[in-house]
């Protein structure tokens, strides 16, 4: 496979340097990194796959990642990469879209894979709530891409790698939002993407207090608890970080158990990578059974207590 000559990756913080370097190396011969984090180690980034690092000055605490847009846009003009890769995070997508607007191109967002075919970068994306995959290619001179977290894994550090770093002067944006405060989100935070076992609930759960029954089973299975979109957003019985699906959390557990879940594609896409899928639903025609390794056709209010009893034996 041929590679693009030069790829510029933009890391909004040090945590994403590794996976962005891997994404960059997957499609570029030369991988250069724009680093918006003073804390991040330049040597480490080189060891992870960057050939050249542009260090942006983040010492002024008032500067938000977004404020570096003119600085990065100017760098693009000078360096003329064939592609720019960012994280498909909230900040990454904002930066990517604004850069793309300047470059008169469309962002290839949420890339699941990158491939160079005859000098063109082709990115795969989930569309229609996960019901389809689309291969897309930007026809302009430079492609702007965001990659979903967890799609590319950081390579092992190679301390023999050589690279260089340069400091880049900050260009003041002509307008900016003023950050008044940063609040920690109230309530507990969970990260379902790293959970080994996950029990999910859907509309089959009749009342919010019945979550206690699900929590009990989950605790016995050492599982985290997740839910479908209607439970998080319609009923608001659970926080958004527990909502599994194409616009929510994408799971990669060893074991997934869906209780009272019909199995709509928008949810199942987030479950697809589970090693084993178990389903409980009283409707034998529920779609979830098509995706299941093991299933039982009966009411969750019968099955879940029975399973709890078995676990306690």
């Amino acid at each position: 496979m041929s590679l693009l000559e030069k790829v510029l990756i933009v890391a909004e913080n040090s945590d994403v340097v590794g996976e962005l370097c891997t994404a960059g190396r997957a499609c570029g011969d030369k991988v250069e990194l724009v680093l918006i984090d003073n804390e991040a180690g330049v040597q480490e980034a080189i060891a992870l796959g960057a050939d050249k690092i542009y260090c942006l000055n983040t010492s002024d605490q008032d500067r938000m990642v977004e404020d570096f847009l003119p600085t990065i846009a100017n760098l693009l003009k000078q360096e003329k990469p064939n592609a720019i890769i960012l994280s498909a995070s909230t900040r990454g997508k904002l930066l990517a879209a604004r850069l793309a607007a300047k470059l008169a191109t469309t962002v290839l967002n949420d890339s699941l894979s990158l491939e160079v075919v005859e000098g063109n970068l082709i990115s795969k994306k989930r569309i229609y709530g996960g019901a389809a995959l689309r291969d897309e290619k930007a026809t302009g001179e430079v492609s702007v891409v965001t990659v979903s977290a967890g799609t590319f894994n950081a390579l092992d550090s190679d301390n023999q790698r050589k690279g260089e770093s340069v400091s880049v002067d900050f260009i003041e944006p002509s307008y900016r939002a003023k950050r008044l405060e940063v609040k920690t989100k109230v309530g507990e935070q969970v990260n379902l993407t790293v959970a080994k076992q996950v029990v999910c609930i859907g509309r089959g759960l009749a009342a919010q207090e019945d979550i206690s029954m699900i929590n009990e089973l989950a605790a016995l299975m050492e599982a985290e608890v997740g839910c479908t979109r209607p439970i998080a957003e319609g009923e608001q019985w659970m926080t958004k970080d527990r909502y599994v699906g194409v616009s929510g959390v994408m799971l990669k557990p060893d074991l997934y158990l869906g209780a009272g879940i019909s199995g709509q594609i928008q949810h199942m896409v987030g479950v697809d990578q589970a090693k084993v899928i178990v389903a409980i639903n009283k409707d034998s025609r529920a779609q979830i059974f098509q995706y299941a390794d093991y299933g039982i056709v009966d009411d969750i209010y019968t099955v879940v207590p029975a399973l709890i009893k078995k676990f306690k034996e």
Binding site: T90, R98, I127, M221, V278, S284, D298
Partner: protein
């Protein structure tokens, strides 16, 4: 306050047809307003209710935008007026072209304080049109907005990031993409639906806004993913025997 709320008409998710060769089609689909766009509309309605002003809905697309029921669907949710850019060529637009045409239509509408968008379209969900629109209009642009509070000539917005909420002060004009938990969109009453038929609709053509669609993305292939092979061992009924079997299956995976 002058507010514009953008929306996209999307096919009903349930109506997707997946063929045996994994190709997909929407040939028999009903159309509706993008699910997440409704949050942008509702945010606009609530702002107008609290500080006064005018809410205008804006969309671009092909002839489906002319559908009476769909026009009423948007206007019954609160906007005072609807502006559309309709051309049969405006189908499967890429993100940049959508933003570019919206920007041209916004300039026709005139001065605005806020443009509100949903967090993404519910069919493609690329989450970039609102953000490109803001950049093309050269105004403050913020995504993941979970609260909007006008304060004199400023607006305080909360932005929901992974673990934190940023509180930002902005001076309009601005383009904001709102989260799905910013509000619960209201369901229009029969009276509102009837009244919607009397609200003004302005339709522009591409030549009216003096722009054209010049695709910058090529869609090479669209197909349903192949499903992973699953064991599909399904037990009928929660008999003691079946519960024991199910327990053993789960236990064996936990070991």
């Amino acid at each position: 306050m002058n507010i514009i709320t953008c929306y996209k008409l999307v096919p009903e998710e349930q109506d997707l047809i997946v063929n045996d060769d994994y190709s997909v089609s929407w040939d028999k689909a009903e159309w509706k307003i993008g699910t997440y766009d409704l949050n942008g509309v509702e945010a606009g309605v609530q702002l107008i209710e609290s500080v006064g002003g005018k809410l205008t809905a804006l969309s671009i697309g092909d002839n489906i935008l002319e559908n009476d029921k769909l026009k009423k669907a948007i206007l019954s949710r609160g906007p005072e007026e609807l502006v559309t850019v309709v051309d049969n060529e405006l189908k499967d637009l890429d993100g940049h072209n959508t933003a570019k045409l919206l920007a041209a239509a916004v300039k026709k509408i005139g001065l605005f304080d806020l443009i509100l968008c949903g967090e993404g379209s519910s069919d493609i969900y690329s989450q970039q049109v609102g953000l490109q629109l803001g950049e093309l209009l050269d105004v403050i642009t913020i995504n993941a907005v979970s609260k909007i509070t006008p304060q004199g000539d400023k607006i305080i917005v909360e932005r929901s990031l992974d673990n934190v909420v940023e509180v930002l002060e902005i001076t309009p004009p601005a383009v904001l993409s709102v989260t799905t938990d910013i509000n619960v969109p209201r369901i229009p009453t029969l009276k509102e639906i009837l009244a919607a038929g009397k609200k003004p609709v302005t339709k522009f053509s591409l030549s009216d806004i003096d722009e054209e669609n010049v695709p910058v993305v090529e869609y090479i292939k669209t197909a349903a993913p192949e499903q992973a092979d699953r064991k599909n061992i399904i037990l009928e009924g929660a008999t003691e025997e079946n519960i024991n079997k199910l327990y053993d299956y789960i236990r064996q995976e936990l070991a």
